[in-house]
Amino acid sequence: MIALLIRDMKLAMRAGGGFGLGLSFFLIVTVLVPFGVGPESTLLAKIAPGILWLGALLACLLSLDRIFALDWEDGSLDLLATSPLPMEGVVTVKATAHWLTTGLPLCLASPLFGLLLSLPAEGYQWLVASLVLGTPALSVIGTFGAALTVGLKRGGLLMSLLVLPLYVPTLIFGAEVARRGAEGLATTTPLLMLAGITAGTIALLPFASALVLRVNLR
């Protein structure tokens, strides 16, 4: 399993691997928003948590179809399915690799992007905390969507439509943590809800993903 994780990270870092795709998309969104809504810092500070969370979510979505599509095309998914690794392990590793190449860089870069949207000073720690807690759920849910649509030509549209509704709870509670944090309110309840969603998806969805992947490989 470690070997698969190392391989996926290597592939992501090398030319054409797609590392940084999500990050640059996130950057584009946060740079363009002030141009769109005007440079008024009070307004920007008000919408910053929501925009940052939305940007992170769409950045995650952008790279989802690569999770299984490349392995499907070159046949390695079939070979992995006949290897000693359990399919649940394969999907867990794939989700982890996706988080490490997309979610983690977003978490680390988010304070900088918060600055671009004049996020209030109290908000930074809560923004990072909410992203650290929430983005794993985005990767795990996204892996499920990718497993559902693997093998479909241009399956990205279908996958987005399937995955977006499942992303809504994470977005609501994640953005709520960041908003409350920025306004100096108590964040415990939405933070616990967010952590609960993430823990639940990590516990359950790999089994569902492995099941649909096996069906899709037939």
Partner: protein
């Protein structure tokens, strides 16, 4: 490790393609599958490899004994030849790739990215993967596609060496590999169209 196939019926896209297949593959033996294009050789191999469930019948085989090589080689173009092989060796928990490099004459290409190999070299690398799996039963789907005469001989030698170590191989191919192997023509096992349900048999399957 003996592979036994009993009264197997297989389907592609929900429609039965081959039925009533019976064969046994004992250690040290190879079985060559022949049959016209589209008859269901690949589907049969995928079923035996466990990638899809049979409609009827059983595939009896020990756990974790099968190494499957499909039409596509499962190589990553941005990884080098040795990285590709090391990856599969790690996945299958075996040590060392030197044997595989020697067996398919890949020593001069170890540091070349797999994406920069020719079609025949890629195939050789894909077949070298079989040697690092350490699994006794090889299931090979058209293994000689895009190989030249010398490479086909190299491949035949690898299969012979594998058989002499007590392994076995199930190979779908159209060419003569020069192996001392039984030949099974799957043509006569073509499934008859199912009557009564008028081809709606596969409906559940296609909705899954």
């Amino acid at each position: 490790m003996t592979l036994t196939v009993k009264n197997l019926t297989i389907s592609r896209g929900g429609i039965p393609v081959l039925e009533g297949l019976n064969f046994t593959l004992a250690p040290g033996k190879a079985l060559i599958l022949r049959g016209p294009n589209g008859v269901g050789k690949t589907t049969l191999l995928r079923t035996v490899a466990g990638l899809q469930p049979p409609v009827e019948g059983d595939v009896i085989c020990g756990p974790e004994t099968i190494a499957y090589a499909a039409h596509s080689d499962g190589l990553k173009g941005t990884l080098s030849v040795s990285e590709n092989l090391h990856f599969w060796a790690d996945i299958f928990g075996t040590k060392g790739i030197q044997n595989a490099l020697d067996g398919f004459d890949l020593n001069s290409l170890v540091d070349r990215p797999a994406g920069a190999l020719s079609a025949g070299q890629k195939r050789r690398l894909g077949l070298a993967r079989l040697l690092v799996t350490g699994r006794p039963v090889w299931i090979l789907d058209e293994p000689t596609v895009s190989l030249d005469v010398a490479s086909v001989a190299m491949f035949a030698d690898a299969v012979r060496a594998h058989l002499s170590e007590g392994g076995s191989a199930l190979i779908a191919t159209h060419i003569d590999l020069g192996l001392d192997a039984e030949v099974l023509d799957v043509g006569p096992f073509r499934a008859k169209p199912r009557s009564g349900t008028g081809g709606f048999d596969g409906l559940d399957e296609s909705f899954l």
